[in-house]
């Protein structure tokens, strides 16, 4: 069908009544499959030169001197720029105090006096080609004065520890505490108390496409154009403009196709300041593509946390109180804009999750160390906290002698909308139902029989469950509920073009989530258009539809709310236009799949092409509001709190001699409210679960005791591959949100939050005859074998 050419007798039989809820194939796929999509490294502009960063090989050192002479002498090198050079042209990168008890911090984009982690940038070399830039980089001589490294939280918080940030008086950059009820009193009198210490390892998003930037500066106006592989073009502009000392209307941020984000690309990094500042300084467009070592050593890290958790139970296994203390190894700088609290603060806020418990104490801290910064990576600290709580509950079940599923079912909140003890406005879900569905789908009773039989033969299988709730649709209400005093603004613009097609622009983004498809489904339904007549555009801060970007499982909720509100305004005007043309009342007009007609009289219709032509060019025959506002509307939506939920269950077999774990089954039950496109929901869950399995078994951004970085390649930082993952069973419950527009919730992070604890609980269940329990991730063969040898069986 040609654009907007739908006629009254168009064959509508093949169309669903509504697009939302249907398994629509993705509209963005063909260009990606054909190799025709344009990612950041596929772009270029005339006169472009290439940057390479000189980076610290030391975890902690003073910069004594930088000698750029040999680099500048190399044919093809254009410039060598240091932190001192940029200090006069840029502002420091500041991040405010997100909460009481959190330090505000500031840093130069490029280190001037000292470096704080391996990979910290100290100079930029610009040259004619990327190869020459790297040659030049290798010729820059930096004289270092190594300082004592601070490789871990214990060292960081010890008396007399070397200060990471000398502007602060401490490495203890964040501290907070939440106490509700009388948890201490409950612990004194409870029938059962179970305690656990759990160490979560350091992982990150590590998208297959690394970060990259291309910047140019207009010589006349000083306006900067920046192409960047980001999840948030508008927010990048807002945060970056003051650092570059340009007004916001003179900074255009464009995001091309983005090869995965997972949270890595929703931060402001030193290179984001340095590359455009260097382009402005030298008067040439500058491109920089991060290499994998830089990505792993200098991007943001996530989830490393020391957790101490304890639960008080009555004689029947009812949870009376829960306490938790979470300490994040925050790395060397506060990530912008989230700070290291994105991990320990989030773990604390979700400590009781969906459990019905009357007394809570949660403490969160973050310390600076000589590692890369901690930022907001898929699942954030919720995944770490989930590991601590859910492994504690399995330990408690073994200690008390209750089945672990039964223990959880006894303690679940009802699925009705309600406030939980932390003050979260839960919008309805399926807490016990999802656990029961996972239990039945994985064949729990049959598994237990089989487990006993195989144990008798010396084989160790185990099963683990991990029910969760996930804060989604992150915006002002949900951020504040989580304890972050920040505000959001998101909008969408829906425009019907003169030929009757529609353009939807959003401040959201898409880097794998398929928003060109799902948001088109939403718009098509809201307008009453055929989906092929909708185009969804995003990725440029020059768009008038300001928004905060895509992360934190927010885009289904925010996208639905903004687009449905804007589309409703435009649709109302289309109905008035149809009423004028059909000589009827607008209330009697039906508009579906691009054709308007009087209800009950489908034979006589007008197409949206006719309506749009009339709406643009019908002069004074048009209704007044069309004359005043045209066929475009912008609407904002700042959603209420929404919480997805579900349960992940896993079956593993452990080889005690080798310490290896064979993940044999994985069931993920997801309830993300009304699904816009179940096809895409399944993809989000499957991918998130895979990252969760990586956290449980493989991923470890290891540092040596001397602070040296040991995981600088994908040979050392291991992703799950096809052979480490089983085929998953992906199941759904659909409980519409009682709060959001359309009953929609988000889905992006659920699997990463839930899967690690399911896998770890399965391992602990498998090795329970040894009388030991897992107390860290990743569960590597070395760790597991040592644990089992120590158990002495």
């Amino acid at each position: 069908m040609s654009p907007g050419s739908g006629t009254a007798d168009v064959n509508q039989q093949a169309r669903p009544a509504r697009y939302t809820g249907e398994r629509i194939k993705r509209l963005e796929d063909p260009r990606l499959l054909m190799g025709r999509a344009r990612f950041i490294d596929d772009l270029g502009v005339p006169g472009m030169v290439h940057a390479a960063f000189v980076r610290s090989p030391h975890p902690h050192a003073r910069i004594v001197s930088i000698d750029n002479r040999a680099a500048l002498a190399l044919d093809g090198v254009v410039a060598v720029v240091t932190g001192a050079d940029l200090a006069a042209e840029t502002a420091e990168m500041e991040v405010g105090a997100m909460l009481n008890g959190v330090e505000a911090t500031s840093r130069p984009a490029i280190a001037i006096s000292k470096v704080r982690h391996v990979g910290d940038p100290v100079a930029v070399v610009v040259a004619r080609s990327p190869y020459l830039a790297e040659d030049g980089r290798d010729l820059v001589r930096v004289e270092w004065e190594p300082l004592p490294p601070v490789p871990d939280v214990g060292t960081a918080l010890a008396d007399g520890a070397p200060l990471i940030d000398e502007a602060l008086e401490t490495n203890h950059v964040a501290h907070g505490k939440i106490e509700i009820g009388d948890p201490d009193g409950q612990f004194e009198t409870a029938a059962h108390v179970c305690r656990k210490t759990f160490k979560v390892g350091r992982s990150t998003g590590a998208p297959v496409e690394t970060r990259g930037l291309l910047a140019e500066c207009d010589a006349g106006s000083g306006a900067i154009t920046l192409w960047t592989s980001t999840q948030m073009p508008h927010l990048t502009r807002t945060l970056l403009a003051p650092m570059l000392r340009v007004p916001e209307n003179k900074l255009s941020v464009h995001s091309p196709e983005v090869g995965g984000g997972f949270g890595l690309k929703c931060h402001i990094f030193p290179e984001d300041v340095a590359v455009p500042a260097v382009a402005r300084r030298i008067g040439r467009p500058v491109k920089w593509i991060e290499d994998r070592w830089e990505n792993l050593s200098g991007g943001v890290h996530s989830k490393e946390m020391d957790c101490e958790v304890e639960v008080a139970l009555d004689a029947d296994g009812k949870m009376l109180a829960i306490r938790g203390a979470f300490v994040t190894d925050g790395g060397a700088y506060s990530s912008i804009p989230y700070t290291p609290l994105i991990d320990s603060g989030c773990a604390a806020g979700m400590l009781p999750s969906m459990y019905d418990v009357g007394h809570v104490a949660a403490q969160f801290d973050a310390a600076y160390t000589n590692k890369a910064s901690v930022g907001a990576i898929r699942g954030v600290g919720w995944a770490s906290g989930q590991l601590a709580r859910e492994t504690l509950l399995d330990d408690a079940a073994r200690q008390v002698g209750i089945d672990p599923v039964e223990l959880r079912l006894r303690n679940m909140l009802s699925s009705e909308p309600q406030k939980n003890i932390m003050g979260l406005s839960l919008d309805g879900g399926s807490y016990a139902e999802s656990l029961a569905m996972a239990r039945d789908a994985i064949g729990y009773e049959e598994f237990r029989r089989r487990q006993d039989e195989l144990r008798a033969g010396g084989r160790y299988l185990g099963i683990g469950f991990s029910p969760f709730i996930e804060p989604t649709g992150m915006a002002t209400a949900s951020a504040r509920a989580a304890g972050f005093d920040i505000a959001y603004f998101d909008s969408a613009t829906v425009t019907v073009d003169p030929d009757g097609t529609a353009t939807v622009s959003t401040g959201l983004h898409s880097h794998g989530q398929g928003h060109e498809t799902t948001l088109a489904q939403v718009a098509a339904d809201a307008l009453g258009f055929a989906i092929e007549d909708i185009r969804v555009v995003f990725g440029s801060s020059d768009s008038q539809s300001y928004g905060m970007g895509t992360y934190a499982s927010r885009s289904a909720v925010v996208g639905s709310g903004t687009i449905m509100a804007a589309a409703a305004q435009v649709r109302a005007r289309l109905l008035e236009l149809a009423a004028t043309l059909l000589e009827a009342d607008a209330r009697d007009i039906d508009l579906a799949h691009g054709v308007a007609h009087v209800k009950g009289a489908p034979a006589r219709g007008v197409t949206v092409a006719e309506l749009a032509g009339f709406g643009y060019f019908g002069y004074d025959a048009r209704p007044d509001d069309v004359q005043e506002s045209g066929l475009t509307a912008t609407a904002a939506y700042d959603p209420p709190e929404t919480y997805a939920n579900g349960t992940t269950a896993a079956v593993v077999e452990v080889d005690p001699a080798l310490g290896t774990v064979d993940l044999q089954r994985l069931v993920a039950v997801e309830d993300c409210g009304r699904m816009l496109n179940p096809f895409i929901v399944d993809g989000q869950v499957a991918g998130a679960v895979a990252q969760g399995v990586g956290i449980a078994l493989l991923e470890d951004l290891a540092y040596g005791e001397d602070g040296e970085f040991l995981a600088g390649s994908l040979m050392h930082y291991l992703y799950p591959s096809t052979t480490e993952l089983p085929r998953y069973d992906l199941l759904h419950i659909e409980t519409p949100s009682s709060a959001s527009t359309g009953g929609v919730k988000g889905v992006g992070e659920a699997g990463t939050i839930a899967a690690p604890a399911a896998v770890v609980n399965a391992i602990s269940d498998a090795i329970s005859p040894f009388g030991v329990s897992i107390d860290r991730v990743p569960v590597t063969p070395v760790y597991l074998r040592d644990l089992l040898r120590g158990a002495g069986r």
Binding site: L33, M34, V208, A688, S713, L714, S721, T722, G751
Partner: protein, 169 residues
């Protein structure tokens, strides 16, 4: 090091996607960079430059090869196939179509490498089992999909290829 590194460019002639391409390459120029930057075939993606992620996979004389671990000057006379060749006539190749049908891609960055690795598998073994598919694809990483859609795509492409092979010609 650097004085010699920029010297000694050589004329190379590569056969890429059935066409002959001539260019100048330093001995150190990676095949991935030569394809992407000299020939502007940007469908081949670079994810690690360490030979681990598989995103840069191309077919050299039908075999999957990491173009980030291969020098352009080594490829003189070889027959190279990149993702751009799969849909040369503007329509999706059956393997590409299968990836779309099974949601075998999300961000799409690793996808060209998977497509070519899968093509090599199906040419060698038209009816692979799921375990064989997983083993064959284990040298390519995808961070988005959890692989289920990718494995399903290869199963579907194999089934469709079998159907076509069974049809009378």
């Amino acid at each position: 090091m650097s004085e010699t590194a920029t010297a000694g460019r050589r004329l190379v002639e590569l056969n890429v996607n059935g066409m002959s391409h001539v260019g100048l390459a330093e001995p150190r120029t990676l095949l991935s960079d030569f394809l992407r930057h000299d020939l502007e075939l940007t469908g081949t993606h670079v994810g690690c430059e360490q030979g681990v992620c598989g995103a840069c996979t191309v077919l050299v004389d039908g075999e999957p090869v990491r173009s980030c671990l291969t020098f352009a000057v080594q490829m003189e006379g070889a027959r190279i196939e990149t993702v751009e060749a799969l849909s040369a006539d503007g329509a999706l190749h059956p393997i590409q179509e299968a990836f779309r049908n099974t949601h075998g891609l999300q961000c799409g960055f690793c996808t060209p490498g998977f497509l070519l690795t899968a093509k090599a598998l199906l040419e060698e073994n038209p009816s692979p089992s799921e375990a064989e598919i997983r083993e064959h694809l284990s040298g390519n990483v995808c961070r988005c999909t959890g692989y289920q859609g990718i494995v399903d795509a290869v199963l579907e492409a194999a089934a469709n290829g079998k159907d076509q092979a069974d049809e009378p010609r």
